[in-house]
Assembly symmetry: C5
Homo-oligomer: 349 residues x 5
């Protein structure tokens, strides 16, 4: 649950104190990719200090940090590239909302990836865009940036001809596109739930709907905040993002709006499911009740008649009649039939 995390880990600590708030992971990877329209190089580094010579090159530099528990390395990286301590704090505190902050020398972007597998999972991706470089921070290894890597390596599209701002765009684009994958998964979950609600509603479905709603709300909040921040980026006038790149950012903005649209529809659907479920359950109950009503109502008068002729009065002429017994049986049958006929006419059967 979203508040299961230790929210209060850092109360009272001086601002800018670097504490990694995610789960501890073993891996730490620092890799460096530099490229220009006609060159491309890629290497893994051990320590942040090795980055020194790449700080001021003409080529575009992408520094990729995977695993955030080696706080001192990230601190050094921050010093080397002039990143504000509060930014570093946000990078390490991996429960940020999506956001875009404009500093003098860099733009700081926080995105959240979302995946759904028996509950929503979310990871934070922090991006620092400088004049000629982009630094990406991920909590753990994942393939999400693979397509960009491949495009860079194989010089597909015009990515190598464009600057670091286009690289940043590519990352935003990939994260937002990954939301569509998430929505597909959620769509299937909802369809399954819907089928179950309509065919064979089991009691715990209310809880499942409840949890799904919460996950959808969480995702919605992430999408909405992303949209807000993208919008601000489109309006802000930063020299780090060139005018002709803006059209691409506008495209990402467009996609995130579509993501939001679909999520809203999903939320409506899931809310509606509860109505359908309750109506379905109450329909079943009503059918059961109706059968009880009818069986009970048919037999109660008959039992009464039987009771009457079970009385021990001395003078009960009917008891002496030869055909008294079959006559009573017939009478009972007629009454039973009459009641059934009455119920059918009332359309209760």
């Amino acid at each position: 649950m979203i508040w299961k995390r230790r929210l209060s880990k850092k109360v009272g600590v001086p601002p800018g104190t670097l504490v990694y708030t995610g789960e501890k992971e073993e891996e730490f990877e620092l890799s460096l990719i530099t490229y220009s329209p006609d060159s491309y190089s890629e290497r893994n580094l051990e320590r942040v200090e090795e980055l020194m010579p790449f700080k001021d090159t003409q080529t575009v530099t992408w520094i990729r940090v995977v695993g955030l528990h080696r706080v001192e390395q990230i601190e050094k990286l921050g010093e080397l590239f002039g990143i504000h301590p509060l930014t570093l704090e946000d990078i390490l505190n991996v429960h940020q909302r999506p956001k875009i902050e404009f500093f003098e020398d860099y733009i700081f972007v926080v995105m959240r990836t979302l995946s759904y597998e028996k509950g929503m999972k979310s990871e934070q991706i922090s991006l620092v865009l400088g004049r000629n470089f982009l630094i990406s921070f991920q909590e753990r290894k994942s393939d999400i940036f693979k397509p960009v890597e491949t495009r860079l390596r194989n010089n597909k599209g015009s990515i190598r001809k464009k600057g670091a701002d286009y690289l940043l765009y590519s990352f935003l684009d990939i994260v937002v596109d990954s939301y569509f994958v998430l929505l597909e998964t959620l769509g299937e979950v909802i369809d399954t739930l819907e089928d179950e609600v309509l065919s064979e509603p089991y009691p715990h479905i209310v809880k499942d709907i409840h949890l799904l709603k919460r996950d959808l709300n969480y995702a919605f909040k992430v999408f909405w905040t992303t949209r807000d921040e993208m919008n601000r980026l489109l309006r802000e006038d930063s020299s780090l993002i060139r005018k002709r790149s803006l059209i691409y950012y506008r495209d990402v903005y467009d996609h995130i709006i579509r993501v939001i649209d679909i999520t809203e529809t999903m939320r409506d659907t899931v809310s509606g499911l509860l109505d359908v479920y309750f109506s379905s359950v109450s329909n079943r109950m009503n059918e059961i009740m109706k059968v009880l009503t009818i069986i009970a109502t048919v037999f109660i008068p008959l039992t009464f008649i039987a009771g009457v002729y079970g009385m021990n009065f001395k003078y009960m002429p009917e008891l002496e009649w030869k055909y008294g017994y079959p006559a009573v049986l017939l009478f009972m049958l007629l009454i039973g039939m009459g009641l059934l006929f009455f119920f059918r006419r009332k359309r209760w059967l």
Copy 2:
């Protein structure tokens, strides 16, 4: 369902990559209409290259593309008329929201047609308005633009005297007017549902209402977005749309607002239907319950009395009385009548 479509088809693909995301259709039609106040010509083309000579004429040119699966033709068209790759991508990705984008040389408009036949169906219409031409893209052949064609051909109204911006307006107008047809259909569906809810509510009506609500929400979203974009168009100052045409666009804006009004009323009505349904069902149940209550409550005491005189005690003086039996029957009758009278006075009958 809206998220049934493969949402994630394009994740990781470089931006501007042209992929048609709609259903494959065989047909591909490329036609060309040029007109001026006193001339009109119309022809079908095989390949985009044949458009070359019509690029810079004084007459107004309407290029109509039906069927979007021949991606390479559309790419060429884009090059010929200087359309940005991201625009082409949007034309081919037929799940766009309605939108209007202003480029230097053209305005890009996405509209969605909606039709209802056992569920909402929607198609994307993309329009590119240049200085002297308008290009329309449709997924499949339809008659929606027929009236404009006829007016052009027969020189009805002043359409031939006005420019390409008026032609664009005519298309927007026709799409928005088609929403009224849709609303009429939906209105009939709602009226039918309403009648059924009030006369003879069947259990699956909840699901039907649920689905109708979702369809209405989808339509509402399309209308609302269209309104927003129309509003932006009215404020934006583009040289491609002349001042004196703006009054026509304002008229379309007016219509879309009326569409939204009616849709909101429909949404309210459909939501209210659920209340009416639940109350209707519970009223039926209550009536059934009441009958059970009354039959059972009348007979239970009578059966008890019968039971008493069915006991086998040796000394039960009543059993010996001559008129014991009819007296008891009368007594039972009186009790039964008394109870019925009591229920009627309580207004339960």
Copy 3:
């Protein structure tokens, strides 16, 4: 119902085509009132052409058109006074929302009158305010403008001293004031419903509430739109409305806001009625259920005891006892009393 009207009558027709969308009425009345501080004249005309000489006078001219089916007359009127075809179209298409549009030479105002008599009825009143004249269009004869007429004729108040903009204000004021009459009617309807819900809820009340809610929503939408448009009028700087008249328009604005306030309260009340109704119905059901419970629960054990002594075992000593029968009756009585006492202590009675 609001969407029962043929919404799609005009799809595909060229803009500015004049089609009257209301119900056909026989009457057509064209009357002309001119006045100045010290003069007043009034006449009925046969044809629009007779208006020619009154077009440019110093006096204020009020042209009143009642009945809109003689489209050609209205077209001529439009030509004579320089009214844009789209405005004429709106005048004839009597399902407009309230609106105020500013043209170069005139202001076009659409208002809606509302009346309630077994459902909401609404009529469109279109007003065209020019430099020195006001043209009013009504669907059918009504007394709504009578008070203004009387004031003009009898020179009551300062109406004849003020210009055409004050005349327009008088009309708006009268329409908005008529909303108070409507609200009074609705208030009575709601009070009746409320009484019925609380005293004797009948099943169809849910439908009545549902319909009333819809009507209230429709009225609310009309009021709200009127408010919006009035607000715009107050901000817009048109030479046709003089500064010192604005204070009167502000007063109308004030009234419409009060109308909205009351309507909102009514909507809340009507929504609350459903809660009260459902609770009232369920309280009745609960009372019925309680009586059943108690009768059944008291008699079921007694019947069981009677059943026991109805068994035919050979050796049942109680049956032989002299006072067995009265003892059992007493025992039954005690059990019945005990149960009743138990129920009362539980406060179920």
Copy 4:
């Protein structure tokens, strides 16, 4: 009820016509207080004309009108102090929303007092702030302005050193502070309702909640409008309210916001009460149902067994057994106990 008042009293009457819409009261009081830092005088007047000499003094003048039915006196007052007819109309039409209007020579303020005693009651207080005077209009005598009077008379605080704008502030402050008294009363009503809902819910509580909700909504609307108007006053730049007085008005604004906060909490609480009530009622019903279920379910099989041994078959060996009767009784006891044990294990008891 808010719409019970004759809303339509004034339809069609020329604007500025003075009609008092409140209830007729006998009293009419016109009093005059003038003060400066070192002087203070107070007198009752008979007729408005006596005010003449006080119109242009250096001292601050507070004219207090109690009782609004003597329309002609108020009209004269208006003429004397240059108050616009529409303002006078609003003063007499005592169903205004709170509002602040800026005229050239004066500021017109409408406030509403609220009190709760078996339903919300509201009175209108109109205030006209001129350069050096303040006129207050009340429907009937009340003590609400007593504290200000006392402060003025006894020269407590700095009130006599400050101008008419500070006097206006004092009145606004007192009205807003009186809302806190109202909220306390309402708070007690809510607490009582809450206790009753939780301990002993009676059926009519739904109606009481319904009415309280409506009253809260009405109060909320008054508070909210007051807030809006106060906010406008803070932004508007009027020469009648000095800069250094603004801090006091900001304080009133602050208070009204706190009033709104508390009212919102109350609304939430009252809405929640309905949930609690319905759940409480349904819990009671469920308990009753459970007892019925258990009694019925325990006795129905036992009665069946008794019925079996009440059959008159010739050959029923058990009937002949010596200990048949006690054996059957024991058997019945065991079945009864078994069922009770089963229900307890299911936690139904």
Copy 5:
């Protein structure tokens, strides 16, 4: 309850009258901390007058007031530091909403701490930031500012190098961080409630949810107002807060937004709990009802049969049959089994 406090204590009192509205506490502590990058001193004072010499020093001065009942001391403090009477009034009236007010010489900040222990508790912290000093007012002794004290005393972080505005930031930061602790507590409460709702719903849980909802709403309102005021502070251009400090305030703003996000999720969850509870309760009831239905429905026909053979007709051939009794028993068994089979096929068992 929030309105249980005497809201109306101060009605009619002149503005700026100092009345402490909190609970009376014995303690009153006045302490003084002055620091510069290389100095630090700390002392407790008895009377406000001792502060005189520290009013205009170069070092930063933090004056800490704990306990607000000694109104005259606070009044003197106000005079000494030029604090407006209305500000002092707000400091003593400890039911303020969070707010930030800009005066010429100082900024006045009201924050609220929140803690949860069987109900929400809230305390007011008032802060006055002057050119070189900060005065903090607390209702009672607490450890909330301990970490800042420690940092100052031990010269941890850069706190002593920065001015009074940074000190103010540190306090805001600590209060907002304490909200995370609160949210953790609330998270646990919600989780416990959720478990109980799903495993063993007891009737009073509705009330508990109701109260938790109210507490969440109260907290939400505090957070939201804090956010609003922080936002204003970020936009306002005050010379008392230096540009380079703003980034820290932005960080606090960021945290409060995260607090709001989590609170919203909690509110959704708690609202959802009611749905889950009602469905859970109704599922239990349904199960009980089903068992009743089945037991009753199985035995009612059997009891009828037993009743038939309990009739005393003279000529009932079956009674004479040798194997009549076992045959009837078998017949009954078959009917019982048949009914059970029927119910199982209907999936009611």
